[in-house]
Amino acid sequence: MARSVETVSPSVIIAAVGLGLVVAVPFLFIVLQAIFPELGRGSLTAPFSAFAGALGDAKLIGMTGNTLLLGVLVVVLSALIAIPLAVARALFRVPGAIVWDVLFLIPFMIPPYIAVLGWIMTLQPRGYLEQLAGFNLTGFLFSVPGIVFIMTLNSFPVVYFAVSRTLETVGSRYADVARVFGASPMRAFWRVTLPLSTPGLAASLLLVFAMAIEEYGTPAALGSRAGFDVLVTAIDLRVSDWPIDLPGAAILSLVLVALSFGAFMLQRWVLSRRSYEATTGKPQGTAKRDLGPWKWPVLLTFGLVAFVATGLPLLAILAGALSRTISGGLVWSNLGPDNFAAILGDTTGALRALGTSLSLGVAAALVTGLLGALSAYAVVKSRARGRGVLDVLTILPNALPGIVVAVGLILAWNQPWLPVTPYNTALILLLAYCCILLPQPVRYATAAFHQIGDNLEAAARVFGASPLTAFRRILLPLIAPSLLAAMLLVFAVATRELVASVVVAPVGVSTISTYIWRQFEQGSVGLGMAMAFLTILITTALPLIVLSLMGRRGSLL
């Protein structure tokens, strides 16, 4: 369409600049690192010399296959668990909806290595399960299904939140229309409601896929025993012991990026084939239905999933935290608040870490929320040229392992010629979190924008709103349920992000996760678990407040 004469909207410019800063810069340096092995030393010699070594690895194909398999399995299982829950949550009055939301958010707050450790300590021989119930599930735990299961527990909420928010927008109206035309409730769901929630579904499955192929903790802890190596394990090997192979890690990361790029193109294709504009200029009431006789079965399902995904790991963590020694097991004489007392004794260190992480979490949520919404707007709603490039930029960090992002950030921001640099300030952590987590708000907001009819923004413009005002007053509130859910995810993950934090944290700054991790390193598993448990309790408060405020405004319940 002939729009070339229109000046580019400021939203698009902000999005472009923000994406450039947060994503393009570190990514560029990762690519440069892959090409120029000596980049760290400021030298551009021997370009491409590392490719043969990294890509020539005989196991690469197997690992790539494993990675793909893992990603696909986690995606499928996440969808199977999350979609029914999301449907119930979006279309029906589920008692305690906010509580379930918060419970499903908690898996993100548990650092993955702790969650895995919790699972190992629960399911392995003589683990908590065996101590309490007399049997163990070690065979399942250290197998591909076990890995998939545990990773799914950490990622299905992404689907749950995206799909429930998308479905909330769709409401039951379109399905009702289908029923008038003879569709049974199930067919109406399969033919109308579910396809209309494609934006949220596709976006979240993409996110889950990228998260799954990029996650290190679980496959490393469980997969090596199952002989199941994935690309991230190989990447981590390259940076875990001397000699460090940064170019190799960068190159393998690019393979991961390529995989997620493929998934992204698939998602784009799905979304561009059809229109999903369920929010029109003729608003229709979307009151939620009562569950009726389904109330208890649904509550039971929610309860079961929450118990397995959130309750069990939390209990395992609590057990670890309350045990004086691991070898002492779950006997009364071995239990006590010693670890909690120790944390409270070291209040300064713990509190500082907590304060740092919470403020970084909030800041990351705000920055990625804003930037994500603007980028998604630029991609979905604007007609700006080059918006495809922006869309690609928002997907790049999706599959980058945290450590590689961290290296990219250091390479980028520690250049001697930079007059000012966020490096060695807490800002670099914020940049790292934003880069790693930006895909969440972007995907969520993209999905939400796909649902909004164009005339709603057009009307605002006609009535005198500048592009930014129209964005703020009309579009932002309309995508708010999705965006806020994504921002809560960002908050939850940012408060416990470890890998990038460890590498880029300015000297002397510790975050919750680095604090916990250092306790582990010294063998103080109990201390780390106690800290983890406390911080989860504290970080839960914020989502709880946000969700109940939104619930009161009626946009979520």
């Binding site: 109206r173 379109y174 009702d176 229309v177 289908a178 029923r179 008038v180 035309f181 003879g182 569709a183 049974s184 409730p185 067919r187 109406a188 033919r191 109308v192 396809p195 209309l196 494609t198 059809r274 229109s275 999903y276 504009e277 369920a278 029109t280 003729k282 229709q284 009819g453």
Partner: protein, 364 residues
């Protein structure tokens, strides 16, 4: 999908009420519509027409009262038959097209649900789209259609399955007049041809009067009058119905020894009831332009607008406007264009008047 008709009522509702969160939207609705007939619903914006259709379709459950379709109770105390079991078609006021399906996909949906095979389905979709003039747009997304085109897709979707009962919620409101007339004819032919039962909400009286076997005039959640079109036009049940149908002006007349008078002007003996005060409906057909000298009523031309088959002339009657009441105006038709401001005389044809007992508490 067509079935055998029985001679029972295709749709009947007894004493329906509906409240949204305490506000009564519908009260005491009784409808009985024999199979094969068309009921037009007329009524002011917000009076509850769409709500009534939603009740019949099964998209809402009545607060009290019951609904039967073809003799089977579909909604009532302890009974609720879901929409898909009611076998209807419906044109939604806001179209409610599925955005993710193409035009053809939207129209094919009812056939798919009825389990009709692909080949027949495609043929029928094409036929339905051709019927509404959108044969060429089958593959488009509904979002890439104009408003009227979308509305026509909604119509095609409602009729493609030839359901026994079709509910039309202002199905032609966004179509131009030429198309509207064609579509009215098409729909009429379809409804009669297949013996469909239809409820047809419209704001266009000519549509209502053309298509309907019965017309229900609704007002504030109630049915003010339910009658055949002729009956409605000739014998509106109340001044309000007459006003709503724009049948003419309602004048309040006072009787004295000489006969009736209006706003102080004697009109002579016009017949009418033996009461001191009465409201009378003066339709344009009850007035004839005559010379000012001989005229019972005189007035000034306010406007002359070309409509359909001639000019509609609005005349302000002479005589003091009574306090608190609108200036009395009447409309007549004329095949010449009268000048605004021209003064004319009007003669009343008593046999074409319709009398209502005046209710002193309701100022007209």
């Amino acid at each position: 999908m067509r079935g055998e008709w029985n001679s029972e009522q295709a749709i009947s509702a007894q004493n329906l009420t509906l409240s949204y969160s305490g506000i009564q939207i519908l009260r005491g609705i009784d409808v009985a519509l024999p199979a094969g007939q068309t009921l037009a619903l007329l009524g002011p914006s917000g009076c509850g027409k769409t709500t009534l259709l939603r009740l019949v379709a099964g998209l809402l459950a009545p607060t009290t009262g019951d609904i039967s379709i073809n003799g089977q109770m579909v909604a009532g105390p302890g009974v609720f038959v879901p929409p898909e079991k009611r076998q209807l078609g419906m044109v939604f006021q806001d179209y409610a097209l599925w955005p993710h399906l193409t035009v053809a996909g939207n129209v094919a949906f009812p056939l798919e649900m009825a389990g009709i095979g692909r080949a027949e389905r495609e043929a029928r979709v094409t036929a339905a789209l051709d019927r509404v003039g959108l044969g060429a747009m089958a593959a488009r997304s509904p979002a890439a259609l104009s408003g009227g085109q979308q509305q026509r897709v909604a119509i095609a979707r409602a009729i493609v399955g030839e359901p026994r009962i079709v509910l039309f919620d202002e199905p032609l409101s966004n179509l131009d007049r030429e198309l509207r007339e064609t579509m009215v004819a098409e729909l009429g032919a379809l409804i009669r041809g297949l013996g469909l039962t239809a409820i047809y909400v419209t704001h266009d009286q000519s549509e209502a009067l053309t298509l309907a076997d019965q017309v229900a005039v609704m007002e504030a959640g109630q049915i003010a009058q339910l009658a055949t079109p002729e009956h409605l036009v000739e014998q509106p049940a109340s001044p309000k119905v007459a006003e709503f149908l724009r049948l003419g002006a309602i004048l309040r007349l006072v009787r004295d020894a000489q006969g009736w008078s209006c706003a102080g002007r004697a009109l002579g003996p016009l017949g009418g009831p033996e009461v001191a005060l009465a409201d009378v409906l003066v339709t344009p057909r009850a007035l004839r332009v005559t010379e000012i000298g001989q005229a019972a009523l005189t007035g000034e031309v306010l406007a002359a607008q070309f409509r359909d088959t001639g000019y509609t002339v609005t005349v302000r009657l002479d005589g003091a406007a009574e306090p608190g009441r609108a200036i009395r105006t009447v409309q007549i038709s004329s095949d010449t264009r009268m000048r605004t401001g021209e003064r004319i005389g009007l003669q009343i044809l008593p046999e074409r008047l319709r009398w209502f007992p005046a209710r002193a508490d309701v100022p007209m």
